[in-house]
Symmetry: C2
Subunit: 334 residues, 2 copies
């Protein structure tokens, strides 16, 4: 697979490689039309494709960014990637996608590899565990944007949902529909993942605001595989909740499984709202009321912020956290 190089083109066209390079970089200012067409021809005949690696080495920019997602199997990640890819494609950037699997060791490895590969910047859904590494990158002015999660120890631009508002909107919707005994179930928060923490605190604040009694038995943040058990306990209480807020898609799925097993009806026996507008929300029986994250806008914003930084607009703004408003999608589960 011998590749044709700029030198081959130059020889073929009878000019120097400097001139070919000028041509490729569209500096036609002083170029004779004739030279131009000779080069054009040579490129065509030889099917020349420039070696971007060599170019990158010289110009110190790879036009590539890295995206490290926590888990690529989540629809949320995919939609974000899609949005990022869209804006990058516009601007001639490529993205290298990495899947950290919620694993700090993998995350570290990926960050280092991306750095070594000279990507121009990175968008990370941070595990939050590699603080020293984040700091090191930041202090060397390497462009980074965080997505979905905050790392309180460090002031890096971060895009996330207004999670507290998401919970508040859900609680209000429940109240509007006449429920007062409201619970929340989410996957484990022991890892300090921002969305989970904030969704719980948002729920608590909203309950307080509306003077509803906060029953600690109505609040559960546990591993996915314990949710069934916790739901069982919760709904066997002398006074069980009338409504449950699902903190994310996984929690919602567990709730739906439970409801089915227990042959409960929604919203008759229990009312449900889920954060994350899951793909089956519309199809479900009954259609599920959800709170949708503006994933597309979020991904777009992340890409734009990062590309700005790469362009040197290194505006270390005081306000570095970008919150996006969730949107209530009323269907029939509440």
């Amino acid at each position: 697979m011998k590749k044709v190089t700029m030198l081959d083109v130059a020889n073929h066209a009878g000019v120097s490689k400097s001139t070919v390079s000028q041509y490729l970089n569209k500096r036609y200012d002083y170029m004779a039309v004739e030279t131009k067409s000779k080069i054009e021809e040579a490129i065509d005949e030889l099917q020349y494709q420039p070696n971007i690696i060599a170019r990158s080495l010289k110009v110190k920019s790879t036009k590539t960014i890295g995206v490290i997602v926590a888990n690529i199997l989540h629809e949320f990640s995919t939609q974000i990637i899609r949005a990022i890819e869209d804006v990058c494609h516009e601007l001639g950037f490529h993205i290298i996608v990495c899947n950290a699997d919620e694993n700090p060791v993998k995350e570290e490895k990926y960050i280092n590899m991306l750095y070594a590969k000279q990507v121009d910047g990175i968008i990370i859904f941070p595990t939050g565990e590699n603080i020293d590494l984040y700091k090191q990158l930041q202090s060397s002015k390497f462009p980074i944007v965080f997505m979905d999660r905050l790392v309180p120890e460090i002031n890096i631009a971060s895009i996330l949902l207004d999670n507290e508002n998401a919970s508040a909107v859900a609680v209000e919707e429940f109240i509007t529909n006449g429920y007062s005994r409201i619970g929340i179930v989410t996957t484990s928060a022991f890892k300090n993942v921002t969305p989970r923490l904030e969704r719980i605190s948002g729920y608590k604040k909203a309950m307080q605001k509306y003077d509803l009694s906060m029953v600690s038995d109505y609040i559960r943040s546990v591993e996915s595989d314990s949710i069934q058990l916790e739901l069982k306990k919760m709904l066997s209480l002398p006074e069980p909740p009338q409504a449950i807020l699902a903190g994310n898609d996984l929690a919602l799925i567990e709730i739906l499984k439970f409801v089915k097993k227990a042959k409960l009806s929604i919203p008759g026996d229990i009312s449900v709202i889920g954060i994350d507008d899951v793909s089956f929300a519309d199809l479900y029986n009954p259609p599920l009321t959800t709170i949708k994250q503006p994933t597309f806008e979020m991904g777009k914003m992340a890409a734009e912020l990062l590309l700005n930084k790469i362009d040197g607009a290194d505006n270390v703004l005081p306000k570095n956290i970008y919150r996006f408003r969730p949107k209530l999608i009323r269907r029939s589960s509440c």
Copy 2:
């Protein structure tokens, strides 16, 4: 963001950069322990990260492959990417993900960019339209693997589902459950996308095999947004089908929407099987019988094949099409 280079390390350690390079490439054969530790220290102190771009230029391998999916929003694509990423990660490869959006122009652009970026190989869900380009790559021995779709004009290793078998399995399941008037609905096949074509032909063959009458009104392959209309027509026939095979996830969703709107019951009024084990199959009421593609194995195989080719095991096997068996997942919609 001045980066530290190998020369910095060499100076700091008081050796030449050749020696540092030897160290990095783990050629310790003749290296004095003392030299070794001096270099180690220097790397540590300077926080040196080698520039892989420079290395790539020299060794002519980027340890990066490109993956061009047809549409990253499909769960199928995501799962394939995940599987590819898993095997690549093992072997120190990175993947650049591109989203061709079923658009040949975008596909061409991406292929050229990836090539220019010196990726070591590409896995493509081909649109099938850029035949000349595929041929050109193949003739220059550039490693490629096709996924999900065949391009008959060209003999490139291709991974795909045994689509005819998928339809056959579905038809047989319908028959076992006592249905004989069986239809199939899939999204438009005008683009000659392999899975759609083969799923229809598989359906036809199976119907023939079991001596069931083939009613052309029961077979529809149209754009997503016309499916509602076609279903309405189909189910208003004097003798409507008792069972419908959904050719893919999109078709399935349309069928479910229709069923809901028309207040039909599954499987009472109409029995349904979907190809693609959609995420909500289990949750739906009733749980949906589906045919699952072994996405993980398929992605793994694609990656392994490609990496083999990259390694030079350029086995142009006569048999170049790898078919994977689908799996029936019996639930309650049939």
